[in-house]
């Protein structure tokens, strides 16, 4: 490695880098499109073509050892039903069970209910001059919506969210090795388990009931329904993956638009631009900006061999800013940007199952906010970033109304 680039350092556990990773990612794209981090022993790709290529290469860059760097490193046994941590053929089987549950058509059908919920929460803020948007909406809304789809009673939902959150959080930069010990959801297992047992006796028209009763042919050729553990794994994944990320999407969108009053006004006057603004927000600040994979067999990237047994970090948040794909305005926020797709939901086999749901929640939240509060700014002194190595965004975001 040449001395000129010796000071390029990327570390997903470094809170300072995480606060504004874009300059580091740009240097990675320009100087070391295949980057190696010695301290934590991982490789990383950051350019659009390489990131999309890596996401497609699910035969060699596998998910079965986890998709979070510390999980891969810790060599933890994955609980059953966690499709995000599986490869074909079992991935195909599990994912197929939910493949028609979160389609754009089905998600758009629940829009009135999602909107009504959002309106009630925001109407309650009338008369206030400031609020923490994470607390009053961004954290509650995804839980409420996924809970609604699963059929979970409202009173149980906050307890589940608290439990998922604490499983994902890093307490300090050095704490990553143990941060995920509870990711299998030991806390939420109990909460979901109670509900699951009740739901087995009391079927309804919800996703939980569907998971319990749908017959399928598993990858060994046996026709059966999911076991209790598999259902719990699945439900934990839906709740875990659906909550944190959507919370971050709403927070990022509100924060970014605080800095672009003209675009905010344009959106207020032309609500039909909101869906594209949400896509741009997803591109600009990916809620889940890095994905990790286990290297199952040697791969060659930019002339170098990444050996089997390595961990590789796929920086989709960087690909979304790659000048090679987006041109000279790649680092700018533009609600009118014309794009075919970004990589914030991944691509291919593990493409976010809840993409249409996240989009729905994002656009409804933004629409209802703009209708009530056309102008706001952020009090950064009292806002707080969250620190995880996989989800990036705000735990607390103080919105001050102008």
């Amino acid at each position: 490695m040449s001395t000129a680039t010796a000071d390029l350092y990327y570390d997903p556990y470094d809170f300072e880098i995480d606060a504004d990773p874009y300059p580091v990612w740009k240097r990675m794209r320009d100087e070391q499109p295949l980057y190696y981090n010695e301290k934590h022993d991982f490789w990383a790709v950051s350019r659009w073509d390489d990131v999309e290529g890596a996401l497609k290469d699910h035969g060699r860059l596998i998910s079965g050892h986890g998709t979070i760097l510390e999980l891969i490193k810790a060599n933890i046994q994955m609980p059953p039903g966690m499709v995000i941590f599986e490869d074909p053929p079992s991935h195909t089987t599990y994912r197929g069970l939910m493949s028609r549950v979160f389609t754009p058509r089905k998600m758009n059908a629940i829009e009135p209910e999602v909107r009504r919920y959002c309106q009630i929460e925001l109407d309650a803020l009338e008369g206030q001059s400031e609020f923490d948007i994470v607390e009053v909406l961004a954290a509650k809304m995804p839980m409420r919506v996924i809970g609604m789809l699963l059929g979970i009673p409202e009173e149980n939902q906050q307890a589940i969210r608290d439990s998922t959150d604490s499983g994902l959080r890093l307490d300090s930069s050095d704490d990553y090795s143990t941060a995920f010990k509870d990711f299998s959801g030991s806390g939420t297992q109990d909460l979901f388990g109670e509900f699951l047992d009740w739901r087995m006796e009391n079927p309804s028209d919800d996703v939980m009931t569907q998971l319990i009763h749908t017959e399928f042919e598993d990858h060994t050729g046996v026709t059966r329904t999911l076991t209790r553990d598999e259902v719990l794994g699945y439900v934990n994944l839906l709740a875990g993956a659906g909550n944190e990320t959507t919370t971050k999407l709403i927070g990022h969108t509100v924060r970014t638009l605080a800095g672009y009053p003209e675009q905010r006004h344009e959106l207020r006057d032309n609500p039909e631009l909101i869906p594209n603004a949400i896509e741009e927000s997803l591109r600009f600040e990916a809620p889940s900006p890095i994905q990790s994979r286990y290297v199952a067999e040697d791969v060659e990237i930019h002339g170098q061999t990444v050996p089997a047994g390595s961990a590789i970090v796929i920086v989709n948040g960087s690909a979304n800013h790659d000048e090679r794909k987006w041109g000279p305005t790649s680092e700018e926020f533009d609600i009118r940007r014309s794009m075919d797709h970004h990589l914030s939901f991944g691509y291919g086999l593990h493409f976010c199952l809840g993409a249409a749901l996240a989009r729905l929640e994002g656009r409804v939240a933004l629409d209802e906010l703009l209708k009530r509060f056309p102008d706001w700014s952020i009090d950064y002194d009292r806002s707080e970033r969250s620190h995880t190595s996989t989800v990036r965004g705000w735990d607390k975001l103080i919105v001050v109304l102008d």
């Binding site: 197929g96 979160f102 075919d340 797709h341 991944g346 691509y347 086999l349 493409f351 993409a355």
Partner: protein, 65 residues
């Protein structure tokens, strides 16, 4: 060319239908129908665009031999 859709992969994201509605249609039950298995060459550009845009990589093109 022949349009091939892996229905195990398809999750009804509907992007293909937006790009090439002459070739792809989603039913009300979110099942994908290929309207033209052998579309005219003039549609090639848009079918290739659909292949690229499908987030699940469910669409491919096989060349006629």
């Amino acid at each position: 060319m022949r349009v091939v859709v892996d229905l195990n992969r398809c999750e009804a994201n509907a992007l293909c239908m937006g790009v090439a509605p002459e070739v792809f249609e989603l039913t009300d039950d979110d099942e994908l129908i290929v309207l033209q298995e052998h579309p005219d060459e003039s549609l090639r550009g848009r079918v290739e665009e659909a292949v690229r845009q499908c987030p699940r990589q469910a669409i491919s093109i096989e060349e006629d031999s």
